[in-house]
Symmetry: C2
């Protein structure tokens, strides 16, 4: 069977079955990041690969590529509630590339890392036909505070930070070469994403958050991942999902389906999480104090799967989003 | 200026200049691995990229690719004297590849990691035209024990573990399709390298080792790196460099220059290190007890550069070895 027939999820499952789990491994393959026990703390580690052909829309500058490579990795730490310690990069580049490209790329990495209070500490440089950038980020979290995908409980509130759909709408604008006027904020959301590291730390410290994941594959796909890993059912209210106002306008203007951005478009890097109901208002207030809005979009229930309520009807939410190999 | 004009070393220098160094970063860009202070210990982290086209000779099995991806990363930890905590991988594969390839690849990773007492704890799976495997390994070392490239002092003994040249001779055999009979051990050295993790830990704990590096680019290139980072001079005795006996035979049989394997051939993953002279015998004995031979090949002196004594004459050793982009 070819990889294109199996798909990314099946391959991750194979990997999870093959790899034995070490005694000090608190979280292994399958979460946003791995966590290993060291002296009452957890070392949290993650890696993300960016390949030019699939990950960078036209017009991305080397500086933006560098920034993005930092942000995608820090977002995984954010989803675990970890404090970043450092980043390392393996970078493969074509030999005909200009040295200035490397300077700008590394500048982007360095400035982004420092914005999040961390540093690029090492790496490896290689030659390849295609620009390939692999980052690894590591951080620390207290063992009890670690945010996993698997902790959601019946009755919990399902919430998401920010507004959704901007990054994928920005990608659409760039790929289909649509007029950018009035939509620059969407393009910026695509090319210069932000990792919610502070928000992740706050959620972790609150002790009220039972599960978390960053919205990278699309809200629907990430809801399904939460539901599967937590072995629960999630019911969301379509009317409550916070769409980015410009995305709404953009979809109407061009006749696109809003759901394709808000539910099935990825790379918003917002945090999707579940909270004990008694603590929800406090969590909301705590995020508001650092300038971040969070919206309740649904509830956790007994059972399996993800369902959406719309106009009084409840339907299964398609488990659709970006998947490698079959995508 | 193109990358091919600048060369790998100049690019690393650019990166080192651009990236600011954090206050808790003990070792940043330019050593085998990075080290970050956490509570009296150091978190040691490294990353290495393997690209099919440049890193895997024909006939490499997916299992061997998986093993190699583990070993190259653990060897960097070994050179720092760190105890491995875990490994994460970003793997990019062409979609037409068979699922069995992935199974074997991951099996190779898992079994190699466990042989060194550690685990594969996470990763990222992507699509790419070319098989690309990026590992990141992290480990712990006591702050005072950390083996750097920069600690060699005037008067120290320069030593290397094992016998050199086998891996590059094995590569020659495979690339030039020479008869393998009698030389299987060389091919094995190329396809199934070993990381000297236990040896690195012993050297670190001894308190007698002043600098260390793993022999990946070739003895000559790695000696130059040690000399540059430690700002000292190294004088080696050509007659003392331990060549693998099969490599000697192989070079004679085919009329190859032995130095091309022993001095300028890479990927032996032996440890090259400097020791306080008073402690040399003890260090040698300590390694012998775990079955590893170490040979004194030279001395550290005041000054700069690497020199080789041969037949009573002293010459500058060419700073030549594998370098990306210009190589």
């Amino acid at each position: 069977m070819k990889l294109s027939d199996a798909g990314e999820r099946a391959l991750i499952e194979i990997t999870r079955r093959v790899c034995r789990r070490g005694p000090n491994v608190r979280i292994g393959i399958g979460d946003d990041a791995a966590a290993i026990d060291i002296d009452g703390m957890c070392l949290v580690a993650t890696t993300d690969m960016l390949v030019a052909r699939t990950h960078f829309p036209p017009s991305t500058t080397p500086r933006q590529i560098g920034r993005r490579a930092v942000v995608v990795n820090l977002s995984d730490l954010a989803a675990m509630g970890a404090e970043p310690l450092g980043l390392i990069f393996s970078v493969a580049l074509p030999r005909k590339l200009d040295v200035e490209f490397v300077k700008q790329l590394v500048k982007g990495m360095d400035e982004a890392a420092r914005e999040y209070g961390t540093y690029v500490v090492g790496g490896d440089l290689d030659e390849s036909g295609e620009i390939t950038i692999v980052g690894a980020a590591f951080g620390l979290a207290r063992r009890q505070e670690l945010l996993k995908r698997s902790g959601a409980k019946d009755g919990d509130i399902v919430a998401v930070t920010g507004k959704l759909g901007a990054a994928s709408a920005g990608l659409k604008l760039l790929l289909e070469k649509l007029p950018l006027k009035g939509y620059r904020a969407l393009v910026k959301a695509q090319l210069e994403p932000i990792a919610l590291v502070r928000e992740g730390r706050k959620l972790a410290r609150s002790g009220a958050v039972t599960a978390a994941i960053d919205v990278t594959d699309g809200l629907a796909a990430n809801l399904w991942q939460l539901a599967r890993e937590s072995r629960i059912k999630i019911i969301i209210d379509r009317a409550k999902i916070p769409a980015h106002p410009l995305v709404r306008k953009f979809a109407i203007q061009h006749g696109f389906n809003l759901d394709d951005f808000v539910l099935f478009g990825g790379e918003d890097f917002e945090l999707l999480f579940t909270v004990k109901p008694m603590r929800w208002e406090k969590v909301q207030l705590m995020l508001k104090r650092i300038g971040t809005m969070a919206t309740q979009i649904g509830r956790v229930a007994k059972g399996r799967g993800v369902f959406v309520q719309k106009d009084g009807k409840t339907q299964k939410l398609p488990d659709r989003g970006y998947e490698h190999f079959t995508g």
